[in-house]
């Protein structure tokens, strides 16, 4: 989201992919987006690893944060999915912190936000969708397909209802991925646009200083808002994953 002082606002180039790690990265198409993914994963592991190193009975700050993160996701799993949720806890934990750190790091200047790429969020939501379907099939076998037949529906309406249910089931992939992608992209476009306003208006001379200052205050507020959105969207993604897993385990 670096704001270059160009004459026209180029809000989308910040999403452009390029290779990272020099010629080695280029030869295997390793992008700066993947670099951020690695950092997000390392931050997640570092929180747990470094935080839990003292193994103290009375935790210090970082250990308390690691334990808080652990218990937060664990309670989310067990409360939403039920006692079976413990099985999915490592997955939901990795998912939540992968997305959370991806979102939060994106707010830093010059950082790339991998969650602002539909391909990435789509892959994540497909992963969740496939996991949910596999779990449901494993848990209930053929009986799983009764999920698409709502109880107490007149026989005539069943084909229509099944169609609707199947569509709503499949649309989870789209809603889950687009929600995250659109939120992240929108925030970063706004930041870029207002950032460009500051530069353009500031360069226009004394007349532009007041609107430039206004744009700066808007951007300041937007960054706070982005932090909220980053956290909230990671949470929403994790909670929806848990809800879908609940449906898969319990079939409503």
């Amino acid at each position: 989201m670096a704001a270059e002082g160009s004459s026209s606002i180029d809000a989308l180039s910040q999403f452009k992919l390029s290779t990272a790690l020099g010629p080695i990265g280029a030869s295997v198409n390793f992008t700066q987006s993947n670099m951020m993914m690695v950092i997000a994963g390392l931050l997640t592991l570092a929180l747990l690893w470094v935080g839990m190193r003292p193994r103290a009975m009375v935790p210090g700050r970082l250990q308390a944060a690691a334990e808080l993160a652990y218990e937060f996701i664990l309670s989310m799993c067990t409360e939403t999915i039920g006692p079976e949720g413990r099985r999915f806890f490592p997955f939901v934990f990795s998912l939540f912190f992968f997305i959370l750190f991806g979102n939060l790091m994106g707010v830093f200047p010059y950082a790339f936000t991998f969650t602002s790429h539909i391909a990435v969020t789509l892959a994540l939501s497909l992963l969740v969708f496939i996991l949910v379907t596999v779990v449901a099939l494993k848990e209930h076998g053929v009986h799983f397909f009764s999920y698409f037949v709502p109880a107490g529906v007149p026989k005539v309406l069943i084909p229509l209802m099944v169609l609707i249910e199947v569509i709503s089931y499949l649309s989870r992939i789209i809603s889950l991925s687009v929600r995250l992608f659109a939120n992240m992209m929108a925030g970063h476009v706004m930041l870029e646009v207002f950032g460009a306003f500051i530069v353009m208006l500031g360069a226009a001379g004394a007349i532009g200083w007041i609107p430039a200052a206004l744009s700066l205050s808007v951007n300041t507020a937007l960054i706070g808002f982005e932090l909220l959105v980053a956290t909230l969207q990671a949470y929403v993604f994790a909670v929806l994953t848990c809800i879908y897993l609940h449906d898969a385990v319990h079939l409503h």
């Binding site: 180039s13 390029s18 198409n29 993947n34 990795s94 925030g187």
Partner: protein, 189 residues
Amino acid sequence: MRLLPAALLLFLPVVAHAAEGGMPQLDFANPLTTSQVVWGAIIFFVLYLLASRFALPKVGEVLEERASRIAQDLETAQAAKAKSDAAVMEMTEATAKARADAQATINAELEKAKATAAQQAASLNEKLERQLAESEAQIVAARTAAMGALRQVATDTAQTVVTRLTGAAPDQARLNAAIGGALASRGLG
């Protein structure tokens, strides 16, 4: 949160023509768009493996350790409390028993003292009673002696009086009878 996509739609026409080729995210002709997903899958899989195998169990261990330690400490505290409760109960019981013992001792001593006192009073009474009886007997004896003397005095007096008046000694038998009668009539015979 819902506003952002709407705002994005407002901005899109403005920014879209500025960025030739549209959104880079939808540029699937770019091999990097798909390669980042492949790399992403690998990175996420490694993250999941490391988190689920090593990092998370470590946290779980510490939390479990703490929970068991807390449970153990609570148990110890509970045991100590039960012990102290028992000690308090024992002490209360001992106090009550000591108090009852003391009361019993006091009562016994009291009874004993009462019995002694009663005995002493009884013996004193007896002694007094005896003295009283003795005194009464002495009085009666003295009275009898006095009575005997009275007859003697009366006889002598009557003899003297009669002798003086008549000049002759009275008949002894008649005098005795008269005095006996007089004494009897006064209740002194």
